[in-house]
Amino acid sequence: MIDPLELVVSICLVLSGIFGLVGSYGMVRLRDVMQQLHAPTKATTLGVGGALLASMIHFGLQEGQFTFHELLITLFLFLTAPVSAQFIAKVHMVGKLRRGDLPKPGTEGEWSIFAPPPEAGESGKAGQTRGGGKTRGVTTNPGA
C-alpha cells in the first residue's frame, strides 16, 4: 500500500528536479546573456518551489514538525531573484550594449544607466545605478 502523501512528495521532488535541470540547460542552450537570464529566474523557481513543497508536506504532515522555514525561503527567493537578475542585466547592458541597441524610453529622459548619476546627497530613483555605494540597494525616491 502506497502512502498517498509519499506519492505527492515524490511527484514534487521529481518535478523540482526536472525544472532545476531545465533551468540549468537553458543557460547552455539560449543565445545571449539576456535570454539566458530568463532560465534561472523562471524555470528554477518551480524547481526550488517543488523541493520546498515536498519538504513542507513531508515534515509538516508526515512527521508532524511544521516549520516556517520553507515559506521564508520562498519569500527570500522572490525578493532576491529579481534584484540579482536586474543587476546582471545592467552589467550586461553597460558592458556589451550601446545606446542604439535599446529602444528609447518614450519619455523625455534616458535609461538610467546612460544618464549622469544623481546629485550627491540626493538618493536616486528606483532601479537606477548609483555611483557611490552609499545609497545603493534601496529603491527609494524621496520626491515621490
Partner: protein, 163 residues
C-alpha cells in the same frame, strides 16, 4: 512620537514576524528579540528609505499575490517549453519599453520584481526620470501586446493598491 520610534511600522511588524518564523518558535523570548530587531533595523536603515509607503487598499494585495503566484507557475512551464522545444534561432527576443503610470517607488519595485518572475519577461532598467521601465521579452511576435498585458494585469492592480 509614534513616527519617531517607528519610522516604518509595517516593516517593523514584518521584521518581527520574520524573526519569529526564522527561529521557528513562538515564545516571549523570540517575540521580544524580534521586536527589538523590528525597532532597531528601521532606524538603522531610515536614511535609505526616507519616504513612507502608503497602502490604500492592502486587502487587494491578496488578490495580486494569487494572480502573480499563478502566473509564476505558468511562466515556469512556458519558459521550460521554450528552452526544450524551440530551435535556438527561432526564439525572437525583444526589448520593450513600458511607460509607467504608477510613481510610488515601492509600487515600481514590486512591478519590476513581478515582471521578472512572470511569463517570458525580465525588467532590466528604469528610465532616469522613473517614468518608463525597460523589459526584455524572451519570445514574442507582438511587443505591443506584451506591454498592454503588463499594464492591464499588474500595473492596474498595483495602482489600485497604492493610489
Amino acid at each position: 512620537m509614534f513616527d519617531r520610534i517607528f519610522p516604518h511600522p509595517l516593516l517593523s511588524l514584518v521584521l518581527t514576524a520574520t524573526w519569529v518564523a526564522l527561529v521557528n518558535s513562538v515564545s516571549a523570548g523570540t517575540v521580544l528579540m524580534g521586536a527589538i530587531l523590528g525597532v532597531a533595523i528601521p532606524h538603522v536603515t531610515k536614511a535609505y528609505w526616507p519616504g513612507r509607503m502608503r497602502l490604500r487598499r492592502p486587502l487587494l494585495f491578496a488578490e495580486y499575490a494569487v494572480v502573480v503566484l499563478w502566473d509564476i507557475i505558468v511562466a515556469n512551464f512556458q519558459v521550460a517549453a521554450i528552452i526544450l522545444f524551440r530551435g535556438r534561432d527561432s526564439i525572437r527576443s525583444a526589448w520593450i519599453p513600458v511607460p509607467l503610470e504608477i510613481d510610488e517607488p515601492e509600487a515600481i519595485t514590486i512591478l519590476a520584481g513581478t515582471i521578472t518572475m512572470t511569463p517570458g519577461t525580465i525588467s532590466a532598467v528604469l528610465s532616469a526620470d522613473g517614468r518608463a521601465l525597460l523589459v526584455h521579452c524572451l519570445d514574442t511576435d507582438d511587443p505591443g501586446t506584451v506591454r498592454d498585458q503588463i499594464k492591464a494585469r499588474y500595473e492596474r492592480r498595483l495602482k489600485e493598491i497604492f493610489e
